[in-house]
Amino acid sequence: MMKNIFYRLLECYSLNASGGLFILLLLIAPVNLSAQPGFMIYADCAQTVISDGLYMRSAYFGNYELGDYRLNAGIQTNLINRNDINLSGYCIEALRAFKIKKTQIELKGFWLWTASSEFLKEINYGGLVSMNLNHFNMKIGTNFRTYSFRRKALRIYEIRNKENRVHEILNVMYSFSYNIKSSDCKWNAGLRLTNMDLFMINQETNPYINLNGYFKVSSRVSLFAEVWYKSAGATNLNSNYFGYLIRGGIKWNF
């Protein structure tokens, strides 16, 4: 019965078995200690060379923390965009934190659905390991990606099933951050080199740079902001400006 429900869920959400299993394993691990829900909301204002002007998005994340375990779920919506779609992404993440000696480690499994247009969607799933040092944070992991067409495109362009998918396996994901203050300070600012964002994963050869910072208004509420510089072709030694993104948001732990 449970097995059927599990596979039905996978089918409904186009999640393949290995990706689903990865997240499920993290979810069913034993939990204890006190629970803490949280919420995060942010808005992006961005422009790229292909975006036909400014576009704006917002994202909403809820999380639920139980001891060393955390479950995140989020959606991304378009506020201003040339593409005629409102919901442009949703994701679910399961995390487990632990320590090796004095180093804080976090394991994350994730599943991410994004739509770049009314015709095209993308599904990513994978895992990340994160290591926190005093001023440094490093994340490294892998993702499996599938580009596919949405139902509307299948219908209009009469796309056959065998032409509907392109897979990429074991892509590399990374993020290297340096913060000027230690992670327990009231405010912080840092620089990050990464090929991923919450609703986007670039190829490993396309890193973006972002400046980021936060300010803890209280023990439960913090404000954060990021400025991204997007370039194309940096690792081919042909760097061209591609775009920028400005993000502002709030995190609230209840």
């Binding site: 292909i50 050869t205 072709g233 690792t235 042909n238 400006y241």
Partner: protein, 283 residues
Amino acid sequence: MEFLMNQRLLLMLAITLLLSGCSKDNIPVYLSESVDTRFTESMNWNANHPTNEINVESDDYTIFTMADCHIGTTSNLDKFLNNAHSLKPTAIIIDGDLTGGLSEDYTVFEDHFPKDYVIPSFFLVGNHDLWYNGWSEFYKRFGSSSYTFTVRTSGGTDLFICVDTGGNTLGKLQTEWLTQILQSERSAYRRCIIITHINLFRHRHTESTNLVEEELCSLLNLFTVNKVDMVITGHDHNAYAEEFGVTTYIQVDALEDGLSNAGYMKLEVKNGILGYKFVNVNE
């Protein structure tokens, strides 16, 4: 001490990843001109050179496409040109990375390319061609890298659009140009084939860089909506074909000397049906 070691390890990893696109003989040589600058110069060149229209008597024709010969040495380039000379395709396409960007490489390439070549030849710039201010060398020898040409047969006319992705992005102006052509002109042609250097899909792990995610998705959408039949690329040095929606995405092998898989592709059009064949020059 352990903390300092960890920090050094992280820094080393970050630098290694950042430079993962460098081959052994590379040093960082960043572009002096943007893709928009190159596109503007290409449009200036196009304004003084009419669109190439090739007429074919029957409804069948063949186009040879090669990429990534990376001069240096010219053994495989000579084989390719000899094959073209004897088999007489309708046209040949040189899809980027002719050289490593050095002026002397361009000179070697030009010396090996027959001056009185009667087969229509179309050149595109690749990322390596742009190093060491290579665009000026490319431009003065071959001209535009963003242009169209057509092949008119007894059964219909096919549109070929050559796009400059040497800088790993089409850039704003070229994207607008491509979009405008596809939206306003595509329907007037039987087939539409796009040729560019950077491969779109990444079917294996390599050091080479592809388009960023947002741009890739935008192009996949554009090609689908406008029913582009085929996209031909190089860059990855490895032959590959993928049907995605209404479009076939092709990568051709590198023609570089010393590679066991060195080769090119024959685009064969028969009664309006597109076909392709990869040819290994070592066999």
